[in-house]
């Protein structure tokens, strides 16, 4: 492990350089911060209710207004992030714990053991997370633990299914053969070549699992299988607010927005981390160049009259000055033109 190929400060800077990465880091950082802060302080006490002050609009005391029994919406939103953080961390950890060993085993075990495992994974993938959660909550009652187990299990088998071909691809690659020819042993080959090459794909999978966890928590709590009513949670807030959507349509916006933004941030962050870890993608975002311009000028070049290309013929007589523009217009016209110019 002493020879990590990953350069610690560099990839973080690379993540930040990408718009998706910067957005992801900001939102995720903000959610984490609110979760920690809300443990010690919320603008209004969470349990303070005042039925006479229901559905207040935004004000200095109630930043986002109040709900039907006068609870401060902003405070509950802050506190709800705690549930989100706990569920995301636990469910993602469980996903990794189930997914990676299962994926590695199904890729690396001898065929007579791995093939039944692959079939088993394919069968397990068919069970929707929601169904698993409902099955679990029948005997155990609705709780965040049920959500975590259901998501961890559902996303875990999916991760296993996706990482298996990746592990196979790398372990059968030419560079793995070359590494083995240099004397790299089986275990260090897995740690130093297979894991870093599969890692980026795994990170994207985990970030998606994290997003799924938030949605599942919100959805399951909404349906009554998740957090108990005393636990602040965005899904709970959404569920409470939806009965009053006719009275106060804005009330569903805040928890909904929090959920949507966080899920989006996690997915974008996962993509950005993957790109930052892969040296081949480092400059990819910037490198797409102005090829269109060069090609079209090449076509326009043949001296005036003969530089007639297909699109000209179709459109009839286009003054020469307008020709380059007409040609650049569509990719196909350009391609055909190039063949006919000669």
């Amino acid at each position: 492990m002493s020879v990590r190929p990953v350069r610690p400060p560099r990839w973080l800077a690379e993540v930040w350089r990408r718009p998706g990465g910067a957005f992801g880091v900001t939102v995720v950082g903000f959610v984490l911060l609110s979760a920690v802060v809300s443990l010690f302080w919320t603008p209004q006490p969470l349990l303070a209710t005042d039925t006479s002050a229901g559905w207040l609009g935004p004000s200095a005391t109630h930043l986002l207004g109040t709900d039907q029994i006068g609870r401060d919406v902003f405070s509950w939103l802050l506190a709800g992030s705690r549930t989100t953080v706990v569920v995301v961390v636990a469910a993602t950890a469980l996903t990794a714990l189930i997914g990676f060993p299962l994926g590695a085993l199904s890729a690396l075990l001898p065929a007579r053991l791995s093939e039944p495992l692959v079939v088993l994974i394919d069968i397990l993938v068919a069970f929707p997370v929601l169904l698993v959660a409902m099955l679990l909550s029948a005997p155990f009652g609705g709780s965040l633990g049920v959500v975590v187990v259901a998501v961890g299990f559902g996303a875990g088998v999916n991760v296993a299914r996706v990482t298996r071909p990746e592990i196979l691809r790398v372990s059968q690659s030419d560079y793995m053969l070359a590494a083995r020819a240099s004397g790299v042993g089986t275990v260090s080959g897995l740690l130093q070549h297979v894991a870093p090459n599969v890692g980026p794909v795994a990170i994207v999978q985990l970030s998606q699992a994290a997003g799924t966890a938030i949605l599942a928590e919100a959805g399951l709590t909404f349906l009554g299988y998740g957090a108990p009513s005393s636990t602040p949670s965005w899904g709970r807030s959404l569920s409470d607010a939806q009965s009053f959507i006719g009275v106060a349509p804005a009330s569903v916006v805040w928890p909904g927005l929090a959920i949507a933004l966080t899920v989006l941030a996690l997915n974008l962050l996962g993509d950005a981390v993957r790109e930052a870890l892969d040296p081949r993608l480092r400059r990819a975002g910037v490198a797409t160049g102005p090829e269109t311009v060069t090609v079209s000028s090449g076509i326009a070049a043949p001296d005036g009259a003969d530089g007639r290309v297909d699109s000209d013929a179709v459109r009839g007589d286009i003054p020469p000055a307008a020709r380059p523009l007409a040609v650049t217009g569509s990719g196909t016209a350009r391609g055909q033109g190039a063949d006919h110019v000669a």
């Binding site: 190929p5 030419d174 560079y175 070359a178 590494a179 004397g183 790299v184 089986t186 070549h193 090459n197």
Partner: protein, 263 residues
């Protein structure tokens, strides 16, 4: 240290792809393994290192420096790979790990076999990079494979194989994937390095023109069997087997002339 391969049989999917191949490489000597693609020459060399694909069955005897490698454990073989026997593969585009730096990969076998410190490894890697004539060694060791041309990558692969000073070097068509102008330069560097190290060499090729630049013994494979063997000069000038004659004809068709010096 000599390599003796006796009666090597490799079976893949129920078919014998290498069927009773025998040859010997004496210390410091060279052997050309010649044959069309699919004749079993690459598999023969992978078998020497115990790197055959899963599912391949192999029998016969492979003796390296008096030790029997056939049936040796992976740990014992790993101790030989990259230390006593180095190999350069055909495909430079895929033979390097895309997410590790050039320097890291060239130094890998040094770290594994000699446990050198980072500083020592770096120094020796830079010296090696310089010897395979890659530009700006200090700079290039921090680059990634995709930032190098095919020819440069093959120089990296040669550096990887030779940095530990192996006693036997296997070159599996090291220049086939490169264009002709690049081939000559790389071959020259490779030839110099192997000659100066005094290592034995197994040179795999289907190209008689290339073979004629490498003197020594030659073995012609066809369909997994040895169809002809002898000094390279003899194989080139008096091919005994139609396959050899065909390969020579193919080389002539691309402008190669039988070298005049040998007769």
């Amino acid at each position: 240290m000599s390599l003796e391969v006796t009666d090597l049989v490799i079976t893949l999917g129920g078919r014998a792809v290498v069927d009773g191949v025998s040859f010997t490489v004496e210390p410091g000597k060279r052997l050309g393994l010649i044959g069309e693609s699919g004749s079993g020459k690459s598999l023969t060399c992978l078998a020497v290192l115990g790197l055959l694909p899963a599912g391949a069955q192999v029998s016969g005897s492979i003796r390296w420096a008096g030790r029997e490698l056939m049936g040796a454990g992976d740990r014992a073989l790993a101790a030989i790979r990259g230390k006593e026997i180095g190999i350069v593969f055909q495909e430079p585009t895929t033979a390097l790990d895309p997410i590790r730096t050039i320097g890291n990969q060239i130094g890998e076998s040094l770290r594994i076999h000699y446990g050198l410190s980072g500083r020592e490894t770096r120094d020796r890697v830079i010296r090696m990079v310089d010897r395979v004539q890659l530009p700006e060694p200090e700079h290039i060791i921090r680059r990634y494979p995709h930032q190098l041309s095919g020819g440069q990558r093959q120089r990296v692969a040669i550096a990887m194989a030779l940095i530990t000073g192996p006693r036997l070097v296997i070159a599996d068509e090291p220049t086939t994937a490169l264009d002709v102008t690049v081939q000559a330069g790389i071959l020259e560097v490779f030839d110099d390095l192997v000659t100066s190290s005094g290592a034995s060499l197994i040179f795999i090729t289907h190209d008689i023109a290339l073979l004629s630049q490498m003197s020594g013994a030659g073995v012609v494979l066809a369909g997994g069997r040895v169809v002809e063997s002898g000094p390279v000069e003899q194989i080139i000038h008096a091919p005994a087997h139609p396959i050899t004659a065909q390969l020579a004809a193919a080389a002539r068709a691309t402008g190669w002339r039988v070298p005049a010096g040998v007769a």
